[in-house]
């Protein structure tokens, strides 16, 4: 028993040492997710706010009131401009739309006559276009709400599920963490396992007086440790900046999920490495697989909002359960379905471990 533990420890030390001595390999696994987080952080500031040029041709009080509402709106980044300047800005793509408060705005408003506010939209993409289509009527509603004789009797009474809005960066950090864990686990463990065949050291390992299970466990633990090092880095940065900070006891399910997700990813990597036995094949299979897992777990969308057939596929994707457990713990402070989620991740790790051992058996016979 002690002999087996020593063998496992030796394999772990060797694999972690090799990994640490290859900065390109470390960079290849860490850099993409970190760059993605950086991009999301910078980009999140602009989400939902469209740049518009505002042309105000009326100096009346109602026009000024609407202008103030538009300038304060969190839907627009407003630049005041003349009609010509605004047209040029739209042409040069400096703004997505031009809003014009016409010269007779106050007169028409006071006379209860139709009083159109023009919005000229560069409608090249429905996402931006619909944002703009929503935002001006929302501002007009605010405008009416400020009138002493507001004719709109329907008032929105909003109640939010959580005390504070969850920002886009905060929301996206969970899928990013899952992507990072999956890529790091699958790629590092897969390459470390395939390396034994590429360097022909698998012969020594298989002829050594240790069980094949110990060999696979050693590989798995090494992949797990390197993945956890990266996870620890992201969790520490997330907690320090406040972007990924579970509340109180929610740290426990968060850490458990991260541990099991990293284990399942490393297990998958070991299984792929032991089956394919070549760097190229590991790289060619494991990275697309990691991306499939990421997307099908709701990596860049909310899986519950996607069509039923996508949701049905997601039920068979292990990282979906990891993502769910993390979102529940971090955003909902909840352990809803935690046992199910952790169970799926644990079973995935066990199955991949068995696959790795089975692949080694094939290697031994050949």
């Amino acid at each position: 028993m002690i002999h087996e533990i020593q063998a496992i420890w030796a394999i772990v030390r060797k694999d972690v040492g090799v990994w640490a001595r290859q900065p390109t390999a470390v960079a290849a696994t860490v850099l993409p997710a970190l760059v993605l987080i950086g991009v999301l952080y910078i980009g999140a500031a602009a989400v939902g706010r469209n740049p518009v040029a505002l042309v105000v041709e009326d100096n009346g009080p109602a026009a000024q009131q609407l202008q103030a509402i538009l300038e304060d709106s969190d839907a627009f980044v407003v630049t005041l401009a003349s009609r010509d300047q605004a047209a040029r800005m739209l042409q040069d793509l400096q703004v997505a739309a031009v809003i014009t408060i016409p010269a007779n705005f106050d007169t028409a408003f006071d006379a209860h006559q139709t009083d159109p506010v023009d919005i000229q939209i560069n409608n090249l993409n429905l996402d931006f276009t619909n944002d703009l289509r929503r935002s001006l009527p929302a501002a007009i509603t605010d405008f009416y709400a400020q009138q002493p004789d507001n004719p709109i009797d329907v008032q929105v009474r909003e109640s939010d599920i959580r005390e504070q809005d969850v920002g886009l960066v905060q929301f996206d950090l969970v899928p990013d963490l899952v992507l990072l864990l999956t890529i790091a686990g699958v790629v590092n463990a897969g390459l470390a396992t395939a390396r034994e065949w590429e360097d022909l050291t698998i012969k020594e390992l298989l002829l050594a007086p240790i069980g094949r299970g110990s060999l696979i466990v050693g590989k798995l633990l090494a992949g797990w440790l390197t993945t956890l090092l990266i996870a620890a880095l992201v969790l520490a940065i997330g907690a320090l900046t406040g972007y990924l900070r579970p509340v109180g006891a929610s740290w426990v399910p968060t850490l458990l999920t991260v541990l099991l997700l990293a284990l399942a990813s490393a297990g998958l990597g070991v299984a792929i490495g032991a089956t394919t036995r070549r760097f190229q094949r590991v790289a060619g299979l494991s990275i697309p697989l990691a991306f499939y897992l990421f997307f099908l777990s709701g990596g860049i969308s909310v899986i519950a909002f996607l069509p039923d057939w996508v949701q049905a596929i997601a039920q068979f994707v292990p990282t979906y359960y990891g993502m769910h457990a993390l979102q529940m713990a971090v955003f909902y402070n909840s352990t809803d379905d935690l046992a199910r989620d952790l169970g799926v991740l644990a079973v995935t790790a066990a199955v991949t471990l068995a696959l790795g051992v089975a692949s080694l058996r094939r290697g031994f016979s050949s």
Partner: protein, 370 residues
């Protein structure tokens, strides 16, 4: 003349050698040809929701005004509406399947007719600020639209929309063109990067560098080899977008020309990456994984000028930004950059030349070290 003929033979030999080497690794080559298609399919999953927030509407009143208000919600181009009971709506909310619950109260019609204030309860799952803001803006939009139809004399201030383009372009139609570019990026980086790195891993770089061949000829041969392999994946991706999704290019000749130019740019980038990194195990993860963030910052979802100024600045420093711009023009006749189309094409060409020069320099330095 003899030198030119010899260089051409070198180019041909290097290109053929790379193609043959790639074909011996069937699994990897198949994956690298199909991977760009995978990118396309996976990204399309993202837009299947069409940016519409799933919302439950509980109709406690079914009078004519209440029904008219429901129609206004449906016409707000913001919601995927599920009409449900209060209990069912709560269950959907707890399962995280909807973003909001809008309840039309039982006295909606009666209160409107008697001029009383109506409180419209809207419960929001404020988890994802993108959807949350949509709800906060779209419900007032629906209210204003409802009033504009039901009480045209009372609500006189209206938004009068004037569109720059005759037709709206759907999110899938727009994004799929951008995804073609990222697919070409992945394909070019993978093919050229692994071809270059393979020479170092197998040690054949020594023979190449010791051969009496011009470094330029070697570089061009490698580019052509990767280009030939990349044509397959490009054809598959463009074929799916044009024939499968029905996104027809407005300017077909330009589309073909830009595809070739963009492939050249990305293949040269792959060549540089492979020469610098020298290990396929590093080239492959970097190629695939870095493509994702680059895709996000390059104006794939719309003109980058409409977003963060920092991202707009960064995105102009790399070729994917210009590649997306020329493709959006070729497919939709859109201008998505302040720079002109011809300048975008010229910049792509300049990027290609600069990257090839950098690759040749890197090859020379690596060669000396080797």
């Amino acid at each position: 003349m003899l030198d030119v003929a010899y260089s051409l033979r070198v180019i041909r030999a290097v290109a053929l050698n790379d193609i043959r080497s790639a074909l011996t690794e069937r699994l990897f080559t198949s994956v690298s040809i199909l991977l760009p298609l995978n990118f396309l399919l996976l990204f399309l999953l993202f837009v299947l929701t069409g940016g519409q927030a799933p919302t439950a509407v509980v109709m406690d009143d079914t009078g004519p005004y209440a029904e008219q208000f429901l129609q206004a919600l449906q016409g707000a181009r913001s919601f995927t509406i599920v009409r449900s009971t209060a209990d069912e709506a709560q269950r959907l909310m707890q399962q995280g399947r909807i973003v909001a619950i809008v309840t039309v109260p039982a006295d909606f019609d009666a209160a409107l007719q008697s001029g009383q204030t109506i409180s419209l309860p809207v419960i929001v799952n404020n988890l994802n600020v993108d959807y949350t803001n949509d709800i906060r803006r779209a419900v007032p939009l629906a209210i204003t639209s409802f009033y504009a139809h039901a009480f045209p004399d009372q609500v006189v201030v209206r938004a009068n929309e004037i569109d720059v383009h005759a037709q709206d372009t759907g999110y899938i139609e727009y994004l799929s063109v951008s995804i073609v570019v990222v697919s070409l990026l992945v394909g070019g980086l993978l093919q050229a990067g692994t071809n270059a790195a393979r020479e170092y891993e197998t040690g054949t770089i020594k023979e190449l560098l010791l051969a009496p061949a011009d470094r330029w000829a070697i570089e061009v041969g490698k580019m052509l080899g990767a280009l030939a392999l990349n044509v397959l994946s490009a054809a598959v991706v463009v074929g799916v977008v044009v024939l499968g999704l029905g996104v027809r290019p407005v300017h077909l000749p330009e589309m073909l020309g830009y595809t070739l130019l963009v492939m050249l740019t990305f293949v040269s980038l792959g060549l540089l990456a492979g020469t610098l990194v020298r290990r396929r195990t590093a080239v492959v993860p970097l190629s695939i994984a870095l493509s994702l963030p680059i895709f996000f910052i390059s104006g794939a979802f719309g003109p980058v000028q409409w977003g963060s100024a920092a991202l707009a600045f960064i995105s102009r420093l790399q070729p994917v930004y210009y590649a997306i711009a020329v493709f959006q023009y070729a497919f939709h006749d859109f201008e998505t950059t302040p720079s002109s189309l011809s300048l975008n094409g010229l910049l792509l060409l300049t990027f290609t030349v600069v990257i090839v020069v950098a690759s040749a320099i890197a090859l020379r330095r690596r060669g000396a070290a080797q």
